[in-house]
């Protein structure tokens, strides 16, 4: 649905030039929720803005729903944008317009008639849970409600893609969860493809099917979230389960990732029993990813290297994802 091919973009020139995007490629499938994570300054914002051509790349191409937006200008670009909704960290609602009029702006732009605008605006407002707020002004709403208006405005013209630029970063954790759940629900109901950028790992945990990690204008890894979790040295896998620094020890340290089916087998007890290893638990984290309990445990395995190697092999034989970190 969204295909970013070898996109580069620099700001400034000469010595002081900053490479915001460095040969970035990305593919988001239809109906997928794709998250790009990274710290501020990583180039996420520039990346998402190339998708609707708010930012033009220096090279490379961006194809959305079969249309190469990098080659479009004027009316062609505007019509492509009608198919790509966008929501923002600071909502960007017009303070002079009511909630309904804010949503209607989107339909005024696509040229809908007065009656159609009204009925479609009210319908989408109902969908985002703002029934009864149509006549309010943005200043009278809470942050979460403002973002709901933003979502309604972005989706009023029934686009097939939604771009989310740090849409929950200005919201408290509880509101963030509600907004993310709403996006997930709308994505399912409307067959919407979502590309979101965020610096919050919780967003990825909560709604993303696939994710990419960005740093200094480059994509370091990308793929389905569950696959990244069980990839050696995956940055995302580690970031999702913060277990702290690895302690100083002579013993071997391993990390076991449990997903779905393997999460309830008595791994540690069996390890002690079968291999006679006095397993030390250094840390554990359990997260609900994609509605599924997923966990990671960091264990210290004292003992002979051969015994430890046998134990690790045994764990792997049980279908567990084991990473030897030290």
């Amino acid at each position: 649905m969204i295909s970013v091919e070898r996109v580069s973009k620099s700001y400034g020139s000469g010595e002081t030039a900053v490479r915001a995007l460095d040969d970035v490629s990305l593919a988001v499938g239809r109906g997928e929720i794709f998250g790009v994570v990274g710290q501020s300054g990583a180039g996420k914002s520039t990346l998402i803005r190339t998708i609707n051509s708010l930012e033009r790349p220096d090279s490379g191409s961006v194809v959305v729903d079969g249309r190469d937006v990098t080659s479009l200008t004027g009316a062609g670009l505007r019509s492509a944008r009608h198919n790509i909704g966008m929501i923002f960290q600071h909502f960007n609602l017009l303070s002079s317009r009511t909630v309904q009029a804010n949503v209607e702006l989107s339909l005024e732009i696509t040229g809908a008639g007065r009656a159609a605008r009204r009925s479609q605006a009210l319908e989408i407002l109902e969908r985002v849970g703002l029934h009864g707020k149509a006549a309010a002004y943005p200043a009278q709403l809470s942050g979460g409600q403002k973002q709901r208006v933003g979502i309604a405005r972005a989706l009023a013209s029934k686009p097939s893609v939604l771009l989310s630029d740090e849409a929950t970063s200005a919201l408290d954790p509880e509101t963030t969860t509600q907004i993310l759940d709403l996006i997930r629900q709308l994505s399912k109901d409307m067959g919407l493809t979502v590309l979101l950028i965020t610096h919050e790992m919780d967003v990825v945990k909560r709604i993303c099917d696939a994710a990419a990690v960005m740093s200094e204008g480059r994509i370091l890894e990308q793929g389905p979230v569950e696959q990244l979790l069980t990839t050696e040295k995956s940055l995302l896998g580690h970031a999702l389960f913060p277990l702290g620094d690895i302690p100083e020890t002579d013993n071997t340290i391993i990390e076991i990732t449990f997903t779905g089916a393997t999460s309830d087998s008595p791994v540690i007890a069996r390890l002690a029993r079968r291999h006679g290893i006095d397993v030390g638990i250094l840390g554990a984290a359990v997260e609900t990813i994609h509605g599924r309990q997923t966990g990671r445990t960091r264990l210290e395995l004292p003992g002979e290297p051969s015994a430890v190697a046998a134990a690790v092999a045994d764990l792997r034989a049980q279908g567990l994802f084991v990473e030897v970190v030290k």
Binding site: H82, F88, S95, S96, E108, I109
Partner: protein
Amino acid sequence: MIDRDDPYFWRDLFETILKGTGETFYTVGFSLLFTVVFGLAAGVLLVTTEPGGLLAKPFGSRILGTVINRLLDVAVNIGRSIPFIILMILLIPFTRLVVGSFIGATAAIVPLTIAGIPFFARLVEIGIREVPRGLIEAAESLGATRWTILTRVMVAEAVPALALGLSTTVVGLIGYSAMVGAVGGGGLGDVAFRYGYQRYSPEYMFGVVILLILLVQVFQSLGNFAARRLSHR
């Protein structure tokens, strides 16, 4: 010297001031109309033709945008830096060309407009600059045309600031109109000058001053009220 004991003194004073007020409204009203139209356009262009602005490249030409921006900026600065009394005199040939005369209430509209446009343009510029960049971006993301962004986002969001700017401009124009009056432009300034100063009547002088104070109060309050009502921030 006007005879204060003349039985018609107060009636004459009332009628003269009333007529002066009417002329002031006439000159200020028309110059305001032109000021708003051209000042709004100039103010909007000042903001939008800047590098990175909405009209940074009109007709695809960055040079044209820069030229318009620089020229407007210089023109506005010149307009703002010439003292009104001098501008008025400088404009006499132009006024004569446009109106056919440089004396009278109608002729006064020309220098008032020329002085009002750059004044209002700067206020428009400030007001429009206050509109957050994100709003323009949001409209762009919805596929809005530049005209839609200009009218329904930039200007629409700046309306409370424009209302305040408008009342400030009205007040400024009333002040200038009194100055035009002193050199034959009619209105309250004319009354104060001819009756109050040249014919030594403190009644006329104070009458005009009090009326001017009232007018300024009323228009400023109207502007403040409108700005408050129009703002939903």
